[in-house]
Symmetry: C2
Subunit: 279 residues, 2 copies
């Protein structure tokens, strides 16, 4: 699978590259960034899924993660959040369409032909990375923020054999029970809610998906996050984990908000968590 | 001196704030960011001066410096690079006018009334910070990148009693001998070059300014920096330091470019360097 490197920068002895490749799932060119540490590898990978409005750039530029990744010998992949381009459906709202792919495969028009972010993240992206960078495709972990926290949790629960560990920052833990998720799922999956639960981390956990696979799940949540009560609702995932005795380390942090200042404060501990599971 | 906080975010236990205040030197509102670690202080400060086109945001968002600053108990101040606004002179080029203040006080029209970045950084900014944040105004160090590296070196050599230590990333070390500097100095100081040397770090060092004050000066320079040969020329400062036996730790790094990926790779070591001198 051909990957074009648009730019690359030396960073902490390794290399940060911004790449573009054609995805069969989305039928579009897709962008991602990848940090590869110094050395021969093959390196285990941590994929970071970003939130609403983001591209591959936000984490890459703002998270301050590469020093710790270099220290731990982790490659870090940060994909875009949706297909993009003039031939791709869009919506003027920030929380639907381009920049808001929700890491699911849309079944409804006009989204279905290109909005296939679940297949992209689960299949096309890792294949492209494996074919072009010195990574160990058998040692993957996943994390994400907000909409990307939803993506990380649901992908881990849908494809547990793909991932050694999963964590999230301020995730949407139950998109079927919050305005962001209800709007996106109605558009991408249709008004019939019967198909929605398969893409809801709390519903997946409550149904017993992947029970016994992950020895721990790490979630950090800021208590000054303006989306906490209406959109994020970590207690719903906490309840579902408790039901199945899934160990969950859910840390609530006084004073932290929804920004990358929150993410950069805890990304080092998330990478250490994943490095332990990938070792 | 009144400072308005436009936004603030908890980060590594401390707080990052974006602030605005009226500067007597520039006669305009000026913006800066400040990271203050957790605790009572008073904290020593490191001021980071950014390069061409930057605002107070670039370092704040991209440098990944606050984890190390929190660990070392340092406050970090990152000001804007020029006065701004519709009443302030400007030029369509990226390397003159707004975003390109060069940390000097302009004497020529149309720049002179507002472009007074030397007085702003040396006087107004520290006073505003001292009056509003728990910092120790007697313990200051300074660093910067590119045009801001020129700013850090020249301010340290002009006002050695203000600063315990100085460092720089890919600095313009001799603006009187490179296109960026010649263009800006011609505009801001006039075509008569006799006034220029007082604002050129290599010329200041060659003339013996501040000799004996700084036990070491730290400069990092990437060898894949596309501005290295034409604009930056670290060898000119190296020669001037050698002339006066000023200790200079000039590290040339293979593969690194002019970006914040370079800065983030070494900012931790710069903060450790300053923390040792501020202790």
């Amino acid at each position: 699978m051909t990957v074009e490197t648009l730019e690359s920068h030396r960073c902490f002895g390794g290399t940060v590259s911004i790449c573009r490749h054609q995805s069969a799932a989305t039928g579009t060119p897709m962008r991602f960034s990848i940090f590869v540490p110094e050395g021969k590898g093959p390196f285990p990978t941590v994929t970071f899924l970003a939130g609403l409005t983001c591209t591959e750039e936000n984490f890459t530029v703002k998270a301050g993660a590469y020093g710790k990744a270099a220290e731990l010998g982790l490659a870090i992949i940060a994909p875009d959040t949706s297909p993009r381009g003039s031939g791709v459906a869009d919506d003027p709202a920030y929380d639907l369409g381009q920049g808001a792919g929700f890491y699911i495969d849309a079944t409804e028009k006009p989204w279905a032909p290109h909005f296939a972010m679940e297949s992209y993240i689960a299949r096309d992206l890792p294949a492209a990375v494996r074919d072009n960078f010195p990574v160990d495709g058998k040692r993957q972990s996943i994390t994400g923020h907000s909409m990307g926290g939803h993506g990380a949790l649901t992908l881990a629960l849908k494809y547990p054999d793909h991932y050694h560990s999963v964590s999230a920052f301020a995730p949407i833990v139950s998109p079927t029970r919050c305005p962001w998720g209800e709007k996106a799922f109605t558009a991408y999956l249709g008004a019939d809610r019967s198909s929605w639960a398969a893409h809801d981390a709390s519903a997946l956990m409550m149904s017993g998906s992947a029970v016994g696979h992950f020895d721990d799940i790490l979630i950090d949540q800021g208590l000054d996050d303006s989306f906490l009560e209406k959109e994020l609702k970590p207690e719903l995932f906490e309840d579902a984990c408790a039901t199945h005795r899934q160990k969950l380390t859910l840390r609530r942090h006084a004073g932290y908000d929804h920004s990358y200042y929150f993410i950069q404060s805890f990304i080092g501990e998330h990478l250490e968590f994943h490095a332990r599971h990938l070792a």
